[in-house]
């Protein structure tokens, strides 16, 4: 079975297949010599990712900066061309489409970005920003468009008196509502939310998450939800994909990942999150503190890319790249790319404590400025 097929088993059994990503890579060339403009190296931002999504599902993608999660989002939204691999949307391959054939697809796949300040034109009124999707993609009259925009604003919790205001007159939470309204305008099938609530205060963040969930129920939306906040991702997602340096290292149903993480990276990532709720503190095990930073994707470590920071790493991890596969004892759809997956009850923290004291040497070249 291919990775996509394996991954599919985890997708809710009912519901149609919406999106298949098959062994997709994205390399950005790095030009180091301006004179001869020759590409010496490339940043392997996404390096062989496969996943599948069914209608109505939410896939959470987590990982630290530089893991490729945002690049993956842009590949799926066809904002970047892929270097290799296939992306199929409703069965149609979209990776090779030209501009004209791409156009209807742009209605169906929308994005919500982190920074509503940066993604709204400050010189245009909200009503005009929200009219764009209709004027570009439909033949509606101006009156009809106006009607649609008002509906849309009401739906995301903006009042109609906001119609003639500029983005600067709104708070961050309201601006994100505008961003969501714009994404929703043409009734897309898939909305890719890239850190949609990271810039918002916690009380406002909860309003936006609730709004996204309501809209999903109402319009049967499918979400890819990218965030670094693991408790937010757990709240909204059905399934999770954990990325590290351009690869998915573990994927599976949300509760499975959060309660029985098999990859040492997932386990340490989860344990690193500070938890506000003291009631849970008694239940928490010792925190696993990873040493060092995420290495540069320009020059990723050999074998398993996590091995220099991994508390469980052995010789084979540096030479042989582990496959993303179902490990013994795991349910279908829970896939892990690790030679030595974490066993239940294993004291991972102890292993890495020593690593912390020693502070693994970090080569200057591996650091990201």
């Amino acid at each position: 079975m291919t990775a996509t097929e394996l991954d599919l088993e985890a997708a809710t059994s009912e519901g149609d297949l919406l999106l298949e990503v098959e062994d997709v890579t994205k390399y950005f060339p790095v030009r180091t010599n301006a004179l001869i403009e020759r590409s010496h190296a490339s940043v392997k931002a996404v390096d062989g990712v496969s996943l599948a999504l069914r209608v109505g599902e939410t896939l959470g993608v987590v990982g630290e900066s530089g893991c490729g999660k945002s690049t993956l989002a842009r590949l799926i939204a066809a904002l970047h061309p892929v270097t290799s691999g296939k992306i199929r949307f409703k069965g149609q391959e979209i990776t090779k489409l030209d501009r004209r054939h791409m156009r209807p697809l742009r209605r169906s796949i929308q994005m919500v970005f982190q920074d509503p300040y940066g993604s709204l034109n400050p010189r245009r009124r909200v009503g005009s920003i929200l009219s764009d999707p209709f004027t570009v993609h439909t033949q509606m009259s101006r009156a009809e468009v106006r009607e649609q925009v008002r509906d849309l604003m009401a739906r995301v919790g903006l009042s109609s008196e906001h119609y003639n205001r500029f983005p600067a007159e709104f708070s961050g939470g309201q601006r994100q509502r505008i961003g969501i309204a714009r994404a929703l305008a043409l009734r897309p099938d898939l909305i890719i939310c890239d850190e949609p609530v990271s810039a918002l205060d916690v009380s406002i963040q909860a309003q936006i998450i609730n709004l996204l969930e309501d809209l999903q129920d109402e319009f049967m939306l499918t979400y890819i939800f990218i965030a670094h906040d693991l408790s937010v991702v757990r709240h909204v997602s059905d399934r999770i994909a954990v990325m590290y340096l351009g690869k998915i290292v573990e994927t599976g149903p949300v509760e499975e990942i959060y309660s029985r993480a098999r990859h040492p990276y997932t386990a340490s990532l989860l344990s690193a999150v500070p938890v506000a709720d003291r009631a849970f503190k008694g239940e928490r095990k010792t925190r696993v503190i990873l040493s060092g930073d995420v290495p540069s994707p320009q020059n990723p470590p050999s074998g398993c890319r996590f091995h220099p920071r991994c508390p469980k790493a052995q010789a084979i991890c540096a030479t042989e790249e582990p496959l993303l596969e179902q490990k013994a004892g795991d349910p279908a759809g829970h896939l892990t790319a690790c030679h030595f997956p974490v066993e239940e009850g294993e004291p991972l923290a102890m292993a890495s404590r020593e690593a912390v004291v020693a502070t693994a040497p970090i080569d200057g070249a591996q650091e990201q400025p």
Binding site: S171, V202, H228, L230, R234, V275, D277, F280, K285, V342
Partner: protein
């Protein structure tokens, strides 16, 4: 005696659009060796309050008092404050790249502070810089001391900032969102480093953050700010287990519970009030589910509540009415710890 005692601090700025009342009456104290967490959302005044105390808000109108070991910082001249900054109180900010000079080697920048404030030779200061870089966990400190800030990653830069903050063994470190720009695995490293350095040097820390998880993790005591005022002040346990103020409760209920899906989130309705006027009622009144007439008369002062000593809340609700009654997260025991195994 408290190390730092702040009373009725008020900070306002005159702008073209009118006066912004950023801090509208803030009192707190920090004991030696203690970590005080100041939590609040954007615009709550949490950063402005400490910056004003340290003389880092040019043009602001500041009233009240802020006594560092009995000496009022607000009454000091800029020269006197300069002598305090760095030697007795150091500051760590969110983005180390903007606090480090890009054109000087980090070793030079660490040594510079020492040479300004104490009588050491250049060689002594550089040795100490290497020593400090080693203590904050930078590998090969003798080599890295000659590197420039851009040659360090975000986490490593924050380590450099901590080394610099510790250089003169201050009594108090003010850390303003020190881990906000970092990934969680690096955040965990930095928080542990801060805690270790605090133990080794017996430094008091004021940790300013919007992240309730970070505060719950490292603070001894917490002040929760809203619209320029403290809403609640308590030991970290009491603040998170039996919060009294409806705002604190609302904040905690807004966090997606780490224990799993607990259905819909319960956000706080509405938006924070404008700071373009002095607020003469409870600032949370317009968003509060328990609001009644008394709340509209004047901003309630902090008063003792709950069962723990030192637990204060600026709310007129009865003192015994504490705790997240309706919101106790379901299934508290289930699953939360398993992921760490």
């Amino acid at each position: 005696m408290s190390l730092l005692e702040v009373r009725d601090l008020r900070v306002s700025f005159d702008t073209d659009d009118g006066t912004v009342y950023a801090v509208q009456g803030m009192s707190f104290s920090v004991e030696p060796g203690q970590t005080l967490g100041i939590v609040g959302e954007s615009g709550s005044g949490k950063s402005v309050a400490t910056q004003a105390i340290m003389g880092l808000t040019p043009g602001a109108t500041i009233t009240g008092e802020a006594k560092l070991e009995g000496v009022d910082l607000l009454a000091m001249s800029e020269r006197e404050l300069e002598a305090i900054r760095g030697s007795q109180v150091s500051l760590i900010f969110q983005d180390p790249l903007t606090s480090l000079h890009p054109l000087y080697r980090v070793g030079h920048q660490i040594a510079e502070a020492m040479r300004v404030h104490s009588q050491v030779t250049k060689a002594q200061a550089e040795d100490r810089a290497i020593d400090l870089l080693g203590q904050v966990g930078i590998p090969e400190p003798a080599r890295r001391v000659r590197d420039y800030p851009h040659q360090f990653s975000g986490g490593m830069r924050q380590r450099v900032m901590i080394a610099m903050a510790l250089a003169l063994e201050p009594k108090l470190i003010i850390a303003d969102e020190p881990t906000t720009a970092l990934d969680v695995t690096v955040q965990a490293q930095i928080l542990e480093l801060l805690a270790r350095m605090q133990r080794d040097y017996q430094t008091a820390v004021i940790l300013i953050t919007h992240d309730l998880g970070v505060v719950a993790d490292v603070a001894d005591e917490v002040v929760i700010m809203y619209a320029g005022r403290p809403m609640e002040r308590a030991g970290v346990e009491a603040a998170f287990v039996e919060p009294h103020h409806p705002y604190t409760q609302g904040l905690l209920q807004s966090i997606p519970s780490y224990s799993g899906r607990t259905g819909k989130l319960r956000p706080i309705k509405g938006y924070p009030p404008s700071l373009m006027r002095q607020i003469n009622e409870c600032p949370f009144a317009s968003r509060c589910p328990y609001v009644h007439d008394e709340c509209r008369v004047a901003p309630p002062p902090l008063k003792p509540v709950g069962t723990k000593p030192g637990h204060l809340s600026a709310c007129v609700l009865p003192a015994d009415r504490v705790g997240l009654s309706a919101a106790a997260p379901e299934g508290a025991a289930a699953g939360a710890g398993a992921a760490e195994q």
